[in-house]
Symmetry: C2
Subunit: 202 residues, 2 copies
């Protein structure tokens, strides 16, 4: 029996931690992130929903100096220092041929056949659902007491070649540095829209 | 000064609530979701990071019987009953011309000019970032004691016409029912991958 939490809100502190006070950091304290922490992030994020449990995200966690230098060299100039100084930067990619894994990821029906011959639909599904998984990654990292700095300013094709070169169906979506954010590296928070601006109840 | 939560993990119960025990529901208890709850979800989700604070999500929260019937009629057969019986179903769309809002959403630089004349780049940015926002929506709803049932099986073009007809640059991404999940409507959880299957530390 699954646990339910109907009408139970997370504490104000927990909501602050993952949503209201969390910020995207541009600089990092000199404090490492362990492989155990990286694993813990994944153990949470993989529980988040994806369409037909497709789990299309393929992630390279860039931690070594050599890998950081390679990734930084393929990023926009404004992102290079962030990547070099972050304890770890996740390259969140996706597998266009995720459907090959569906026989074990979604075992109760033949979901693989839904996607065969539909490369355009697979690209869209992989991009949408790996983006969802990237969001789960960020909120999972925050939930564990870490900070994030997501970025899309890099050369996707060059990153694919450098980090997914042996898997031509794996493509990069976005990247996200993870560590202990330096409070001196952030500015005033950008404004957020009122409900009525971008929402409608029908 | 922003609050930081370095090395503070959310409680085991909170992690269960938003990640580990949460499920995608196929059926709903007969218990309504108020407009105040819908607003509360948005107040949390809008705090999540988007690229250049672009906030491309445009959301129609389908609550009336008439709107539910219209949306259900445009969904795959297996999703119709779910939409009709859910207290509310959010249509998470995005604005391809989100850059028109950047002068106030990202006021400290001329971010609008980065996107002008690049409709393909805007489409990709809007799709990626509205997907992130859809994930924030789901985790925000769970954090407030609600359950989710995301779906992508519907006729996007027909939903755009029916619900975003007066805004031709608004496109649907995916939909998500929200309410109090009926534990009888879920099956055994689909398997989740081990870290080494889809991850690599470089």
């Amino acid at each position: 029996m699954t646990k339910q939490f109907h009408d139970r809100s997370l504490s104000a502190d927990a909501l602050d931690q993952i949503f209201r006070e969390a910020r995207s950091y541009n600089g990092w304290l000199a404090k490492p992130v362990s492989d155990e922490q990286v694993h813990a992030i994944y153990e949470l994020m993989k529980m988040g929903p994806t369409s037909a449990n497709m789990q299309p995200a393929r992630i390279v966690w860039v931690k070594s100096e050599e890998a950081k230098e390679k990734l930084a060299s393929l990023a926009m100039e404004g992102n290079r220092e962030k990547i070099l100084t972050a304890p770890v930067t996740a390259i969140i990619g996706y597998d266009i041929d995720f459907h090959d894994e569906l026989p074990w990821l979604f075992p109760h029906t033949d979901a693989k056949s839904w996607f065969e011959g539909d490369q355009e639909g697979r690209k869209q599904g992989a991009f949408r659902n790996s983006s969802l998984q990237g969001a789960y990654l960020m909120l999972a990292a925050r939930a564990l007491g870490l900070d994030c700095g997501p970025m899309s300013g890099f050369d996707n094709a060059a990153v694919d070649e450098a980090f997914f070169g042996d898997e031509p169906k794996h493509k990069s979506n976005f990247i996200c540095s993870i560590g202990y954010g330096d409070p001196k590296s952030i500015f005033e928070r950008s404004p957020r829209p009122d409900f009525d601006r971008f929402n409608r109840i029908a």
